[in-house]
Symmetry: D2
Subunit: 287 residues, 4 copies
């Protein structure tokens, strides 16, 4: 029996499990499309037949899927997380979901005697590979403490908030700022380009100033080249924007700038950029 289980082997899960394995931990993995586990199995991971089986056989199981519907399905469907939960079993959902989804999973797992932590991550492909993610946790505090070693392997920092749902909310706030910064950046690059300035000059000047940040540095030159290989797929950013705006709606917080950004991502989805990096929003803005 492995100490850790891991469900959902996409861009993020691949990198996170690799780091757990490198650190010497036993990990049992599962993915809906089983072949996506092959590389990890080659690196020493065991593979489970169902999510339920993994949860039942591991002390702590992590889940990383793409949206609230997938997170619910992973937990509640046949052969899902909930079937494997019993006293002594623990589940940590590191997906980005809304508060309602997080609460419903939390309640179901508690009812069966298990422990639950929501722990959405800040950071995409590169930080995942570097073990530099940030975990935004809320739920069972004892589980947060027991998971510390694994969180430290996969991430550089973790935060604990007492109330379930607050991890999800914090993640949405961060990603809403990030998503809107990206459309602001893309609008600036597009405007500069239209008036005859070189994108690389704009990037060099931004690098000197008060708004210089890793995202502009990392993605700016890729955007100038037209390279939109997905680190964080655009459709997932748009999903996070949607959830954040819905959160704003529920607490009467008008969000004019972020709503405009959200519409830019929706337009980019229509323009066929769903599976590219979210920086591909610049294509719809400048076209």
């Amino acid at each position: 029996m492995s100490k850790y289980g891991f469900l959902g082997i996409g861009i993020m899960g691949q990198a996170m499990v690799t780091n757990l394995l490198k650190a010497g931990h036993e990990v049992t993995v599962w993915n809906r499309t089983a072949e996506r586990c092959n590389l990890l199995v080659d690196l020493g991971a065991k593979q489970g037949k169902t999510a339920a089986e993994v949860v039942a056989q591991c002390e702590i199981t992590f889940g990383m899927v793409s949206d609230p519907a997938a997170a619910s399905a992973l937990c509640f469907s046949e052969g899902g997380v909930l079937e494997g939960i019993s006293t002594g079993r623990s589940y940590i959902d590191v997906s980005t979901v809304d508060v309602e989804t997080s609460c419903s999973i939390h309640n179901a797992i508690k009812k069966k005697g298990g422990r639950f932590l929501e722990a959405p991550v800040s950071g995409s492909k590169k930080p995942a590979e570097d073990g530099a993610l940030v975990f935004l946790c809320s739920g069972d505090e004892s589980l947060y403490n027991d998971a510390e070693e694994a969180l430290n392997v996969m991430g550089k920092r973790s935060f604990y908030f007492p109330q379930i749902g607050q991890g999800a909310q914090m993640k949405l706030v961060i990603n809403m700022i990030m998503g809107t910064m990206m459309t602001a950046f893309a609008e600036g690059l597009s405007l500069g380009d239209k008036v005859g300035l070189e994108k690389n000059d704009i990037l060099e000047i931004l690098a000197q100033g008060a708004i210089n940040n890793p995202m502009f540095q990392l993605k700016g030159s890729l955007m100038a080249e037209g390279n939109f290989a997905p680190a964080f797929p655009l459709k997932h950013m748009q999903k996070d924007m949607r959830l954040a705006l819905s959160l704003g709606d529920s607490c009467n917080q008008a969000l004019h700038t972020s709503s405009a950004a959200n519409n830019a991502y929706i337009r980019a989805k229509k323009d066929g950029c769903s599976d590219e990096d979210f920086s591909a929003v610049i294509k719809s803005i400048e076209q």
Copy 2:
């Protein structure tokens, strides 16, 4: 006779001239409200009676005022820059203006035999004090070379673009991104606050991630405290947003996110925040 003249002694001019004086240069200053020069005179500056007098008596004169109308007035009004210009005299406008204003000043000075450089700065109070501004220059290249020593004292980096107006355009692009990033940041903090998250937790988590930048770090905690002492006054940011959007309009570049941000600053002006730091836009967003 001083080597350098400096017209317009506001937050920025004060800091820039101080650095020139500290570096051992003679500087002659002028300001519409003469008393604002007193501190600099105490530090060794000479004071001129009119802008024209300063321009006529110095090799290179810098001008730093708040908007296009002020820049035009400084140049064209009675006793203004143009009256002091003759062959051998040089004027560098470091204000942020639109392309049309820059071109009209450029043409008038060239006609009288003088040299002109537009050199809007990226950076506000703190970089000005630290000699860490970035100059975005276009116009007369020989003047750019002759001014190098002074630009190096006041700034950490300067860029030269051959076509007049491009310095202004680059500045507007940079400030539009900055202004929109600020409303994105403010919307995120406001949303977090409404759902019960601590602003300081949000700031700490942002500091770990891909969008961490000096502006969030510098202004974030001040905003959380409600301290909006002006480093870059909100009305000037709104002016830059307006000019950038007008540039977009002129080249058919739709700018949805930045337009929403501009409206947030306009609202903040109505709410009485014109002379506070531009980060005060958060007050109108979260109120």
Copy 3:
């Protein structure tokens, strides 16, 4: 036993049942807060103890509540519509809801052998009183035909779309246009007022032109007077905007103008206008 049942006696239900009674129909009514039925009972209506009882005792029962959650609760809760449904019983939901809610009610009722029609109305208090509503129906076509007499009493026109959910979608499209027209109107009146034009002059000139419409005529002068007595409460308009934007999100249709309008309503809710007429959005825009 009455031919018609009616569940939900608010501004709209009151007027609709009054017209049914005036036309000589027997109507059995029910409302969560029972006293709201008193006026209708005085006019000759019978009163049921539960929604289920009304549905079980009437041929065709109408339901009119304020949002999708209320519509779901009315159907699925204890003593709700579903309990009263059996073969031969019919339910027509005239509330404005989203497609998912409409489908789930439709499926549940069909499973118990009943007939279901969704029939959201276009029109608020005044058209309801005048029997001039427009019904946007989809679902069971035989029920649509059987309800014709009642729909003709309460409304001036009804439309039938074959696919369940299309009535709801049509309603959202209409109300999104209406809600956005209102913020456009409010922005125009506010701008005019700021520059010194009389609101009544603006209204008189609008009345001469190509965009003259009953809503501007009816609400314009009330808005100029500051009279925001609710014909269609602002919180309901914001709910419809939210649902329409969510529909756009689901089919990748960017909706920049309507999103800005939605944020204006959200702001107005924060400013305390939820229960006023939706034209009260002007207060937040011009304040």
Copy 4:
């Protein structure tokens, strides 16, 4: 000598002069591209060689051009209106311009002893042909009275505001509402289309309700067919939106909805719709 002069023979001027001629008035016309006057000459108009000549020879001369720059050029350029002005000569500018342009023309004409009225019109091609325009006048009240007969021929109603610039401002307020209503309408039709509703069904239902208006009725079916023959060219609507937003900026009135609409028109210009009817904005929204 004709009583009336008319400068600028575009879509609007053509129709307005035709009505003056039909009513039995003598009219002398002028257009930069002289051939555009041919049809009117066939109908009995005289043709002047320059704008100045027309102004000098007629009691009252009307000018109708497309934007502020053209209105300024028409007045101030060589052979322009101002050269023909003297005591006893009167000029009525029926173009839509900003307040500054209107004031500068007003001042120049007064200085030469002439009378000036700004009289922008509400209404496009069809009302112009039907003599059903609305004139929004400000400036010299005696000229307003003297022009009454001609205004009554070309329009169905005219308004007088005492302060110069108010006619222009009123026009901008009206057109901003109209332009934003159009993008709201276009978003609604696009959303409906995406979810499978027929545009003609949406139009029929709108025609029943509180927001029914001539613009929706006139343009809706043309839009559904994809017919965008220009009654009011999109580039002119975008110009009016820009001027209205600039007016809002100058008086600290945030205009979120109208700004979003303006960006939709800018996008449509980039998409090549400048010279089509402004309803062509739907193509950029739904594409």
